[in-house]
């Protein structure tokens, strides 16, 4: 994107001025190099979102923004139901509540090294990943509905994990307002074999070591010590979320046309928050959030068992669990007035500031942990919400590196075996059922995650707490 077409509000804040159908301006948080690296489509998509009814303040793009569907990936927008605001199935995306959680092992890298291969095998064997994989769990229809209402809380009640995990999950592990009755039989059928599966693509389970600490007080509150090992899990609501996204997007495309809503892009299909369709989508989407939370909770349980088999006595406390494809009802102060808004984050992480009432007491002083996944073989980061983060972009920050190269181009450039061997030479063990999948996810196909988090920090969206380097990566 050409920066000269934007108004530079500050070093890390760029404005797309209102034009055409835009109701509010667009704001991109990034440094100049990141802006130059963004596809022109990002600017178009930010502007298109700004044209949706009831949008508040601005249409935002995070530093990792890239060309998505309707919304850019890395897009944030809030809508006011009292002002005709909408909820957009495209603004949440197909992988509803895709997110990251990080577990603390307390083990040092030196302790891990002698058993690294054994741990890689144990984790790979314990984690159903990739195309056609199935979980061990089969839910009856009533258990499916209980899961969709209860999320991680349901999973803990069934023995997957510990009650104290729930404090360390957004919404305390269970998204309120879920309506399993609004979830189609097809979506439930698609989930029947998929509980506790990782998925494929950019989803992973990664063993990492804490390579650097930036904020010692926050790191201590988060339980992060330099040289210790953590495990991060990146996945979402699996087939159920994909099917809900597919079905509601389709319904909203047709309904918007019938209602005379002019969509600049069909992928922005939406419905008024206060409409039967809007309410049905919200109920189903919240059920999908619970599915994702339950899924990550089940994966946590299998991960704990696998790690304990290799490193007996490891507790694996949950640091935190964030979702980065959601629409959530939150209160934000806009122009001095507290308003109840429907905040869409599409490839963006919530970053509540210190003292926010939704944070558990142990994390209140430090602010919300913001878990930023890198790509296989590159660093990941843990950030925290800042006192200013509540004022910028409705307490939102980036979510990952974002691709810089298409899958097609990546497979032309790299062979999966070569990627695995090169990473092994650097001490990173990759375990995946698909070498082509590995080639498509080659580290070089992603943007520099360090530039992304540096820009997020400079823009006061969140502050850096720790840097994580990969040790083992299980890919779908």
């Amino acid at each position: 994107m050409d920066p000269s077409r934007l108004i530079r509000r500050s070093e890390h804040e760029w404005e797309i001025p209102r034009h055409g159908a835009m109701r509010v301006p667009g704001i991109i948080f990034a440094d100049e190099a990141l802006v130059r690296g963004m596809d022109d489509k990002v600017g178009e998509q930010v502007a298109n979102v700004a044209a949706l009814p009831g949008i508040v303040k601005a249409s935002y793009a995070m530093p990792d923004a890239h060309w998505g569907y309707g919304f850019p990936i890395g897009g944030v927008a809030a809508f006011d139901p009292d002002d005709g605001g909408v909820v957009s199935a495209g603004g949440v995306g197909f992988d509803i509540s895709c997110g990251v959680r990080t577990l603390l092992t307390g083990v040092t890298l030196a302790q891990l090294t002698p058993v690294k291969k054994a741990l890689a095998k144990a984790l790979y064997d314990a984690t159903p990943a990739g195309v056609g994989s199935t979980g061990a769990l089969r839910l009856t229809p009533s258990e499916m509905d209980a899961m969709l209402e209860g999320g991680a809380r349901w999973a803990v009640d069934r023995g997957y994990g510990r009650p104290e995990d729930l404090d360390r999950i957004e919404e305390r592990g269970a998204m309120a307002g879920a309506r399993p009755a609004y979830v189609s039989e097809a979506a439930k059928r698609r989930q029947r074999d998929e509980m506790g599966t990782l998925g494929s693509g950019n989803h992973y389970l990664e063993v990492q070591h804490v390579a650097e600490i930036y904020d010692h007080a926050a790191a201590a509150a988060f339980g992060l010590e330099a040289g210790t090992v953590v495990i991060s899990i990146h996945c979402g609501s699996r087939g159920l979320g994909h099917q809900i996204g597919t079905e509601f997007l389709r319904e909203m495309v047709v309904a918007a046309k019938d209602a005379g809503i002019e969509l600049p892009d069909r992928e922005l299909a939406c419905a008024p928050i206060r409409s039967a369709l809007g309410e049905r989508y919200l109920g189903a989407m919240r059920a999908a959030i619970n599915c994702a939370l339950a899924n990550r909770q089940i994966l946590t349980h299998s991960t704990r068992n696998a790690v304990r088999a290799v490193l007996p006595g490891t507790r694996l406390a949950l640091l935190y669990d964030v979702s980065h494809n959601t629409c959530k009802v939150e209160e934000h102060v806009v122009d001095g007035r507290r308003r109840r808004l429907f905040v869409h984050r599409k490839g963006a992480t919530r970053a509540f500031p210190p003292g926010h009432p939704d944070l558990p007491p142990q994390l209140s002083q430090a602010g919300q942990p913001v878990l930023i996944g890198g790509s296989m073989g590159t660093a990941s980061y843990i950030l925290a919400g800042t006192p200013e983060s509540g004022d910028e972009a409705f307490a939102s920050a980036c979510h990952g590196a974002g691709r810089s190269m298409s899958r097609h181009a990546a497979t032309k450039q790299w062979q999966g075996r070569q990627v695995v061997d090169e990473l092994a030479a650097r001490g990173v063990l990759i375990r995946s059922p698909s070498l082509r999948g590995v080639a498509e996810e080659a580290p070089g196909a992603y943007k520099d995650v360090t530039a992304v988090v540096d820009a997020a920090e400079a823009a006061h969206l969140a502050r850096k707490v720790a840097k994580l380097e990969p040790v083992i990566c299980v890919k779908g």
């Binding site: 596809d39 992988d95 990739g130 195309v131 056609g132 693509g201 099917q243 181009a409 698909s434």
Partner: protein, 137 residues
């Protein structure tokens, strides 16, 4: 009749070209399979019937590909041959395939959904049909 992929920032586009709209849809389905694996390596052992209805050709393409994705994920199958008939708003089709074999097919990535991005179903000046969209993986 050909299929091909086209680039999209994070994902991948599928495109089918044929002498009829139905053929273009068949080719687009082959391109969808090729996101996972080589379509020629898929044996046509089991037939699955699919029926879709949509108010326009573009929505019909998205519905067709999403119906295939649903059959693939719930049956744990992969399809290598397609026969599509389109009459007005109605699509009737048969997809032939086999269970996913992780050793033989080396499936690269799951497809989450067909999207409305770069979506187009159109007849070109030479009379051939093109059907394409981006799929989310």
């Amino acid at each position: 009749m050909i299929w091909e992929h086209f680039a999209h920032g994070a994902d991948i586009g599928v495109r089918g070209v044929g002498t009829t709209k139905g053929e273009a849809f068949e080719q687009a389905a082959l391109a969808l399979t090729a996101v996972l694996t080589d379509p020629d390596a898929v044996a046509a052992k089991t037939a699955v019937d699919i029926r879709s209805e949509a108010p326009d050709g573009e929505l019909l393409l998205v519905d067709w590909l999403n119906a295939l994705i649903y059959e693939m994920t719930t049956r744990k199958m992969i399809f290598g041959r397609f026969a599509v008939t389109i009459t007005g708003d109605l699509l009737t089709a048969t997809a032939w395939g086999e269970p996913v074999d992780r050793v033989r097919h080396h499936p690269a990535v799951e497809v989450k959904a067909a999207t409305y991005t770069a979506l187009s179903v159109a007849q070109r000046n030479d009379g051939t049909w093109v059907a394409q969209c981006v799929v989310d993986v």
